[in-house]
């Protein structure tokens, strides 16, 4: 039953990723007074892009052609590592640090792709992604560190129950959640850090790195973005998520949680403007600072 629930969970997380993205888009459209496209639009776009001709810039190398598969592969692996059904079989790999490095690996390839496209927008996007990464990583490590302190291991699986068991104080818990929420918006490239819907090349971060892609490569990048959002949202629910008795119930709960967080994301983005680029360092320092504070409170026995 453990195996079954986790496998179904992984398949659903990947399969429904464009849907959750669509939900966030629909919420945004409604907040803007528009109908917006259907929540299933992501699938049509993927199918359309996949069927289109694939071309590559004249001055690009094998790096450009390899990058979409590498970043998509890294994110698919990340999805595998997340305990979608709460508890995973002991033979199933699940490691927080592995998630951390896979996300860094993905960012690395996206940056390379941007630079290898030999366009100035790609280069600018790559530079911004790398700069953002230096801020995201400490913040993410600090937030993950809280879980490590609580469970004394980097495996993801037992963490949520451990959290419940230890009934840690609301303040470090809240700080860790806040820190992760900041990181989530930065890592998935949503407002107020990056605007996924913009057509203004000069303001783009992630989008600028994939500007030169089309056809199958673009489809891979689009799927990667959707999968990344689902993976990072799903991981986030470890902090919040109550655990139910059976794996199947847990999986069902997780899907509901993903739906709720997609709606919340769309709502939050509707209220935000994009931050100034030079203020992102403040934003990320704040995220890391909050995470480190939570880490310190938990590791020193803090408020318990």
């Amino acid at each position: 039953m453990l195996w079954g629930a986790q496998i179904v969970g992984v398949v659903l997380a990947i399969g429904l990723a464009p849907f959750f993205m669509g939900v966030a888009q629909t919420v945004k459209a409604r907040r803007q007074g528009r109908h917006g496209p259907s929540v299933w639009q992501g699938y049509w776009v993927l199918a359309k892009t996949w069927r289109k001709e694939t071309t590559v810039p004249e001055y690009s190398s094998w790096v450009f052609r390899l990058a979409p598969s590498m970043s998509l592969a890294a994110l698919l692996l990340t999805v595998l590592l997340i305990p979608w059904s709460g508890t995973v079989p002991s033979a199933w790999p699940h490691d927080l640090l592995a998630v951390f490095f896979l996300l860094a690996f993905e960012r690395f390839w996206v940056g390379l792709a941007g630079m290898d496209s030999a366009g100035t927008f790609g280069g600018l996007g790559a530079s911004r992604i790398a700069t953002l990464g230096t801020g995201i990583e400490p913040a993410m490590l600090a937030a993950f560190g809280v879980l490590w302190v609580l469970s004394r291991q980097t495996a993801i699986q037992p963490l949520a129950p451990a959290l419940m068991r230890q009934s840690l104080g609301i303040i470090p818990w809240g700080l860790a959640v806040l820190s992760y929420a900041f990181v989530l918006l930065a890592e998935t490239g949503r407002l107020p850090v990056d605007n996924p819907d913009t057509h203004l090349e000069l303001t783009m971060m992630h989008e600028a790195t994939v500007l030169e892609y089309n056809g199958r490569f673009l489809a891979q990048s689009q799927l990667a973005i959707a999968v990344k959002l689902t993976a990072i949202l799903g991981l986030g629910w470890i902090w919040l998520g109550p655990q139910l008795a059976t794996p199947w119930a847990n999986l069902g709960l997780r899907l509901v949680e993903l739906l709720v967080s997609s709606v919340a994301l769309g709502w939050l983005e509707s209220r935000s403007t994009k931050l100034r680029y030079f203020q992102l360092s403040t934003y990320l320092t704040m995220a890391a600072g909050i995470g480190i504070l939570a880490f310190y409170l938990v590791s020193s026995g803090g408020l318990n």
Partner: protein, 487 residues
């Protein structure tokens, strides 16, 4: 309108005379070249008098004003491109609208060039001014853009995320409007003038109408004056609503963007119903203007107010949005004055210039002064917010006058009208000037100096020193018209 004083200037006195006009606080209306080696510089004094400084010379070279009056730098480049006259001493005489495809002896307005020319088969790019050095990247944006906007090519020299220099390559779609207008009969002109620009069309049409009426000595009856005020202000509201919608889009504030676009659409549908055109094309002619149903427009303004105030409240209180606008894209007051900035950009920088205060059309109205001051994106946004509301107030006053105004008979200009005149109005983008020379009822020379033409150099100046990611926001805060410049 008061008559024009003509001053004949000798070559050596040309720069001195015009610099003195500027120092005396006069506003440059237009620098116009004519066939036969003649230049006319129209100046508007603060009390509404127009002086035309005329320069005759022989040969191709004439003394450039640009080192003393940077605001005519574009004008002189344009004259160089279209007439082949050479402003001697111009610091940057690169082509403005000319491209390498034009044959060397092709100067469309000099009267001797062959039409159509034998276009040369070569790349159309003009040389760009860039910064060179370690760590400097040159980034080219456009002329084709991702949004539905017109063709502008921007060459950025950036170091890291900072803009060192922005070189503008506009005028990509030169349409030869001035050339096309030459030789047209009076009744053929409005259709073309109406289409110089989609955003300032009423202002362009009104300029043509006023030019003809002044030449013919026609006294504009009060009814017609109010009708034109209604059209001009309706256009200002439309244009400002659009610009107010675009600024939030520059920072990803989609909710404010879409809600403002919805307001603009509401207003535009009202205009379609009232005047028969969403952009108010073909609404003003010499001796006439589109009639308005007073009550319908008043009702539309009321409807607009119901959506306007919640929106204004929403954007003014949004912290993130205001933070993005503050201190970005700064135009200092001195620079605005030096470069002859007009319209919203000038008023936001603290220059209190609105040519409506000098127009006979608005003689019974007080135009409220807008508070800008800081000269940044936030100031330009605020000036527009105030101007939309003051336009609605002016509309209400004008409509109340129109309710009691007597109907008038349509006047037609005499068919053999001749003469040379300058006319100006405040378009949504600022001071808009037409210089018209008629001969026996046909256009001999038509020069259009639209507001955006003056403000484009300011965009480049305001961008340098900012983060490159802020450029869309800065550009949208000016929201200048390409079409006006591609004339």
């Amino acid at each position: 309108m008061k008559s024009i004083t003509v001053e004949k200037i000798e070559g050596p006195q040309w720069t001195h005379y015009n610099s003195q006009q500027k120092q005396a606080g006069h506003q440059l209306l237009a620098l116009t070249a004519f066939q036969g080696h003649r230049l006319v510089c129209h100046w508007l004094s603060p009390d509404g008098f127009v002086t035309a400084a005329v320069l005759h010379w022989s040969g191709l070279d004439f003394p450039s004003l640009s080192p003393h009056l940077p605001e005519v730098a574009f004008d002189e480049r344009e004259i160089h491109d279209l007439f082949g006259y050479v402003p001697k001493g111009h610091p940057d005489l690169r082509p403005l609208m000319r491209t390498p495809r034009w044959p060397a002896d092709f100067y469309p307005l000099n009267g001797t060039s062959q039409f159509p020319p034998n276009w040369l088969d070569t790349q159309p790019d003009n040389p760009a001014k860039i910064v060179e050095g370690d760590g400097v990247t040159v980034m080219k944006v456009g002329p084709t853009h991702a949004g539905i906007i017109e063709s502008g090519h921007f060459v950025f020299s950036i170091i890291g995320e900072n803009v060192l220099h922005l070189d503008l390559h506009l005028f990509q779609n030169h349409r030869g409007v001035e050339k096309s207008l030459e030789g047209l009969a009076l009744e053929e002109v409005p259709r073309l003038v109406s289409r110089i620009c989609g955003a300032d069309t009423v202002s362009h049409q009104t300029n043509w109408a006023m030019a003809v009426e002044q030449l013919a000595g026609y006294q504009v009856p009060e009814t017609l004056r109010w009708e034109r005020v209604v059209l001009l202000e309706s256009e200002r509201v439309l244009c400002h609503l659009n610009d107010l919608a675009q600024i939030p889009a520059g920072v990803g504030f989609q909710v404010a963007h879409q809600r403002a676009l919805a307001m603009k659409e509401l207003w535009q549908r009202g205009l379609l119903e009232l005047f028969g055109h969403r952009l108010l094309f073909d609404t003003v002619q010499p001796g006439g203007a589109a009639r308005v149903e007073v009550d319908s427009l008043l009702k539309l303004i009321q409807t607009m107010n119901k959506v306007w105030h919640p929106w204004r409240n929403f954007v003014e209180k949004h912290h993130g949005f205001n933070d993005r606008m503050t201190g970005v894209g700064l135009v200092r007051r001195d620079d605005a004055a030096r470069f002859g900035a007009v319209g919203v950009a000038a008023r936001a920088a603290g220059l209190n210039f609105d040519v409506r205060t000098l127009m006979p059309l608005y003689q019974n109205l007080t135009i409220p002064a807008t508070k800008g001051g800081a000269g940044d994106v936030a100031a330009r946004f605020k000036v527009r917010l105030q101007e939309v509301e003051s336009s609605w107030r002016i509309l209400q006053i004008a409509l109340n006058h129109l309710r009691e105004a007597p109907a008038i008979l349509r006047w037609h200009p005499p068919e053999d009208l001749s003469g040379e005149i300058v006319s100006y109005s405040e378009s949504p983008h600022g001071l808009n000037v037409h210089v018209v020379e008629l001969e026996q009822g046909h256009v001999r020379r038509y020069h259009v100096r639209p507001a955006t033409f003056r403000n484009w150099p300011l965009v480049a100046m305001a961008t340098a020193g900012n983060a490159v990611a802020d450029f869309p926001l800065i550009n949208k805060s000016f929201e200048l018209c390409y079409s006006c410049s591609d004339r």
